[in-house]
Every structure is written in structure tokens, then in C-alpha cells.
Amino acid sequence: MKRLLSEISAPFLILAAAAALFHHSRQLPPPRFEPMGPAFFPQLVLKGIIVLASYTIIKALYIYWKTGRREQSSSEAFKTAQSGRGNLLPAVTVALFAGYILLIVFTDLHFLLLSFLFICVLCCVLNGSVRSCWLPAVLSAAGVVAAMYLVFGLLLGTFFP
């Protein structure tokens, strides 16, 4: 059952989003100077998405119905155990990346300082040991921040956030 839910969750979300956007597209103005109007193409594309997402859901349901639950249960348990173990580091990376962006957007701290801290912290988190990694992390962060300042700040004249 978990496998079925995992199979249909993505197409179901896509289907729901496409249906909502299709509903929204009805508010777009009708055609004036040409036969089709601004809503024509997005609606065509959204109809296609709805059809394909429905097809994927029906196919998953059909396969589940046909192959039965027993066959899947053992591989399901294995897959769940596997994915549970590997998912932590990407999740931590995403959380740190989100925090870095939030600090850039909502605080007055300088981008280069935040980048230096972000690189140091994430390097240590990814390495798993602060003691063995802090020096290369600091050196790498300092080098990257200097390169950013030279390339984006001085050479390209970019305003840092």
C-alpha cells in the first residue's frame, strides 16, 4: 500500500495543481485580435498534463490491483529502510540552504559574510567531523568568498544582496 501511495502521490499532486491552474486560467481575458486568446495555449498544456497524470495514476492502480499486495510488501520494507537512511544529509543540506537564503533576504548581514559562514558550516556538516575539517572548510570558504568578490563584485559590478 505504501508503494502504491508513493507511486500515485506525485501524479496526484501534479493533477491537482494542473486542475487548479486550469480553473484559474478561465479568468484570463477572452481573445480579441486573434482567434485563440491568451488562455488557449496554457489550457491546452494543462489538459495534456491532466490526461498524463490521470494515466499514470490509473496505470499504478491497475498494476497494484493486478500484482497484488503480497508481492510488494517485502521489497517495500527494504526500500523504506534504504530511503530512510540516505535521506538525512540532503534534508540537512536543504534546511541549511533555506536558512542561508532566509538570512540573506531578511537580515542586514552582508552576503559575503553569510556565504563564508554557510560554506564553513555546511562543509563541516557534510564531512561529519568538525575537528578534521575546520581548517580546509575555513580556507575553502575564504577562497570562495574572495573569488566571489573579485568576479562578481569587481569584474562584473554585481550588487551583493
Binding site: H24, E34, A141
Partner: protein
């Protein structure tokens, strides 16, 4: 302007010291990025696009091209030394490259690969230089419906060649087309799907989308294997340059593989991985000692590398002549052209002939730079493999942020990178490929404009799509590609049923 003077003009643009310096630097960066497993040439180009905002057209394009050419070849280094393809297109190089390195000749294996990459690339760039203008002249005659049919065919083929179920690949292609619809309507300029946000009125910044979709999912994927140690061979300079006699012996293999690569590059979506595997297979079939393939044979390395580098030139032909990117890397080059107000397509050869030929000649210059850099500095490039990934991923994430922000100075673009990065990662985890999505969002506005222009001319009738031979051919190909998996499944079931119940 005739072709010769356009080529001369392009050559003059290219021969400036700053451009040559950019080409050498870009190629070196491309080789470094391409040689690190997990960091692809496409990601390297996505990271280089923001830098082009501060450069003029020729400088910016030279940077992107050199990163592309360097990145494609860089994959060879880790394929030979680590048995891991640095870029997906180097997969076939591992079959013979790594056994040769393991047998104590890593320098020789790299030398064969570098030479084959140089010759394969050179062949395809010459094809690009001479075929593209002729095809552009033909493309000028195409009507709106015909361009729309070609775009749809390309999208279906790209979806079909991704290693995912066609329904999922087509879904992401359509999601890409829809994302391309956000922002002003291409005919009347009315904002669509902006939900009252001023930032969305002009649509998503293409660059932020590309960085989000190419870089973030790839990096998050790499994070999973960040603590795995890599074992590499050390490279000696001995025997890196192959003898002329050895190159002469492999001349037929090089020419055949280069032709395969160039032709595959012409077809949207098929890509360098398929080309190198196909060329490898052909080399094996035509060899007197096919059983030795996979044990460290130079012909295997040469076939794979000549073909995957030849794809780079072939893929530019539809891009320049039709404005049709056949692969994600070409889509990024397209955005590089658009940043400089150069709309790819047949008109490009008329409106900006010098830059267009400069673009093509930059491939040749980058190829020469790649050859010299790889031969002279292969040892430092091989040392890049020893940099642990935990030191590479965080800086790249920070570069993603400043790259996206720097183009428009909007915080919104940073959120787009983050949001679409997560969306891409989630979709990939659920088996939805991202390449069709990227091409969809690039091709979406072109497809919509051409279809609506055509429908305006035909007063709302779709009949020209079925009446024009060019439309019929391309829509027919798209239809066959979509229906073929079902037919194959039906035939397989029928033959299984026949075997189970004979007569």
C-alpha cells in the same frame, strides 16, 4: 554579406586577446568541473551563464562554449582514473579506459581519449561551419505551423530518450511548457498566472529556473554520496601523446565515430551518451578482435570519446538554424544567445553573421585549447579528483545564489532557484526526468507563438497541420514515437501468448 567575409569577421572577433584568454580559462574550468563525478558539463554552463551578463556577446558566448567543450572532455579523466564517468557521456570510456589504466598505463589511456576528443570535436565543428548556413537557408522557408510541428516532435523525442516512462517524461515536458507560459502572453502582452505578484508579471527569470533545475537537484543527489572515498591512479607524463602511427591505424574508427556523434547530435534529445555507446558498439562490431573490447583496448576509448565530443558540434546545427536546442547544454547556450539579444534561428545568419560565425569558430578554438591544456596539464587536472566533495558542494550552492541574484538584483530569483531546485529534486526522486522540463520551458514560448501565429493566419483552423507535408512528417514521427511502446508491448504479449499456446 557572403559566407567568406562573415567567417573572416567572426575570426577577427575571436582573435582578440581577451576572448582567447576567456576561452582558455573557460576550457580549464570546464575540464575541472567535468572531471569531477557528479558535476556535469551542463551544470558548469548553468553556473557560467550569470557571469556572461557582465560580458559582451562574443566574450559571453566564448565562455559558455569553452566551458561546454572542456566539460565534455573532462569526463574522460574520471572515467579512466576512477572508473566513474565524470559526465554521463563518458560511460563507454570506462569500459576500456579504466582497464588500461589499471594495467599500468593511465597516461596512455588519457592520451588516446584526449586525441580522439580533439579529432571528433574538430570534425563536428567543421560540419557545423559548413552545414549550418545551408540548413538555415532551408529553415527560412518554414511556416509557423511547420516550426510548431518540429518543436513538438523535438519535445516528444527528448521525452522518449530519457530513461523514464514516456508518460512521466511527457508530463515534465508539459510542465516545462506551462512554466514558459507564466508571464506576458507572447502575442498580446497580457500577464498570465502572476497571481497579483509584480515579480511574476514578467515571468520567471530563465536563468534562475535553469540554475535551480540543473544545479540544485544534482548537488542534493551528490550530498548522499559525499562521504564515500575515491581511489584514483596517479598519472605520469610518459606516453600521453599517441604516436602518429597509432592515430593512423585508428583513422577509420575516428571518422566513423565522429560521423555517428555528429549525426546523433543533429537529432534532438538523443544525446552524447547514446552516441558514445553506439560508436563503441560499432567499433566492436567492425573489429577483428571484438572479444578484447572491455579489457583495455585503445579502439574502445577512441570510439567513445570521438563520438561524445562530436555531438557538441552536431547539436549546434538545429540550435543555430531553427532555434531548437537538442539537449540541455544547447538550451543553456540558447539562453546565452538570448541574453545578448541574439534570437537563434535562420535570421541569426542574416542579422548577426559575424557573431554567428564567431560562435561556430569559438568551438574550434575551445577544442584546440582543450587539446593543449589536457596534454600539458593533465596531472593537475587529475589532482582535482582528490578534492573531497564536501569542500565542493557548499561553494557551488553559494555561487548558485549570487548567480541567480546578480542577473536582476531580485530576491525573488533566489527563491526561484530554491523552489525549483526542490521541485526538480522531488520530481527526479519520483522518476520524472528533468531534461524534457528544461527544454519545455525553453521551447514553450516558441511553440506558443508559432502555433498562435499559424492559427491567426488560418483563421483558427488546425487543418494546415495535417495538410503541409513537413508538418505531417514531424507530427507523424512524434506520433510513432509515442505509440511505439504500446505496439511493442502488444506484440510482446502476443508472442508470449503464442509461445504458451502453440497452434
Amino acid at each position: 554579406m557572403d559566407i567568406l567575409s562573415a567567417i573572416t569577421g567572426g575570426f577577427a572577433l575571436l582573435c582578440q586577446p581577451d576572448i582567447l584568454l576567456i576561452i582558455v580559462t573557460g576550457t580549464a574550468i570546464g575540464i575541472c568541473v567535468g572531471s569531477i563525478p557528479g558535476l556535469t558539463a551542463t551544470m558548469a554552463i548553468a553556473m557560467a551563464v550569470p557571469v556572461t551578463y557582465g560580458l559582451d556577446a562574443m566574450q559571453g558566448l566564448s565562455l559558455l562554449i569553452s566551458v561546454y567543450v572542456g566539460g565534455m572532455t573532462g569526463g574522460l579523466v574520471s572515467a579512466v582514473l576512477l572508473n566513474i564517468p565524470g559526465t554521463p557521456s563518458s560511460i563507454a570510456t570506462t569500459y576500456d579506459g579504466h582497464p588500461m589504466a589499471a594495467a599500468g598505463e593511465p597516461g596512455k589511456a588519457l592520451g588516446y581519449g584526449i586525441t580522439a576528443s580533439f579529432l571528433g570535436g574538430g570534425f563536428s565543428y567543421l560540419c557545423l561551419l559548413f552545414l549550418a548556413p545551408a540548413l538555415a537557408a532551408v529553415a527560412l522557408e518554414l511556416s509557423s505551423f511547420e516550426v510548431f510541428a518540429i518543436v513538438m516532435c523535438a519535445l516528444v523525442m527528448i521525452a522518449d530518450t530519457s530513461q523514464a516512462p514516456l508518460s512521466k517524461a511527457l508530463t515534465t515536458g508539459l510542465i516545462g511548457l506551462f512554466i514558459g507560459c507564466v508571464g506576458p502572453d507572447p502575442i498580446m502582452g497580457l500577464p498570465r498566472f502572476s497571481f497579483g505578484s509584480d515579480h511574476l508579471t514578467s515571468g520567471f527569470a530563465e536563468l534562475s529556473l535553469l540554475i535551480g533545475l540543473f544545479a540544485i537537484p544534482q548537488l542534493l543527489d551528490d550530498v548522499g554520496s559525499v562521504r564515500e572515498p575515491l581511489k584514483t591512479f596517479s598519472v605520469a607524463y610518459r606516453h600521453i601523446i599517441p604516436r602518429l602511427q597509432e592515430v593512423r591505424e585508428s583513422a577509420l574508427n575516428i571518422i566513423r565515430s565522429s560521423c555517428i556523434g555528429t549525426l546523433i547530435g543533429l537529432v534532438p534529445g538523443v544525446g552524447a551518451s547514446t552516441a558514445s555507446l553506439l560508436a563503441y558498439n560499432q567499433a566492436k562490431l567492425s573489429s577483428n578482435t571484438p572479444e578484447k573490447f572491455g579489457t583495455g583496448l585503445k579502439d574502445g576509448i577512441i570510439a567513445s570519446e570521438a563520438a561524445n565530443n562530436a555531438v557538441t558540434g552536431g547539436a549546434q546545427i538545429p540550435l543555430l538554424t531553427l532555434g531548437l536546442p537538442g539537449c540541455p547544454a544547447a538550451a543553456l547556450l540558447l539562453s546565452g544567445l538570448m541574453i545578448n539579444d541574439l534570437a537563434p534561428g535562420p535570421q541569426l545568419f542574416i542579422n548577426a553573421p559575424e557573431v554567428t560565425y564567431g560562435f561556430m569558430l569559438a568551438f574550434i578554438a575551445a577544442n584546440i585549447a582543450m587539446f593543449l591544456l589536457m596534454l600539458l596539464f593533465i596531472k593537475p587536472f587529475a589532482m582535482v579528483l582528490k578534492i573531497p566533495k564536501y569542500l565542493l558542494i557548499p561553494p557551488i550552492l553559494a555561487f548558485c545564489v549570487i548567480g541567480a541574484y546578480g542577473s536582476n538584483n531580485r530576491f525573488m530569483d533566489i527563491w526561484v532557484v530554491f523552489g525549483f531546485g526542490l521541485l526538480g529534486y522531488a520530481l527526479e526522486k519520483k522518476g520524472y526526468p528533468l531534461a524534457p522540463m528544461v527544454l519545455g520551458l525553453i521551447l514553450g514560448p516558441i511553440a506558443e507563438m508559432q502555433l498562435r501565429r499559424g492559427l491567426t493566419a488560418s483563421k483558427g483552423s488546425f487543418m494546415p497541420l495535417l495538410e503541409r507535408p513537413v508538418c505531417l512528417v514531424f507530427l507523424g514521427i512524434a506520433f510513432i514515437v509515442m505509440v511505439y511502446p504500446f505496439i511493442r508491448q502488444y506484440l510482446k504479449k502476443r508472442s508470449q501468448a503464442r509461445q504458451a499456446h502453440p497452434a
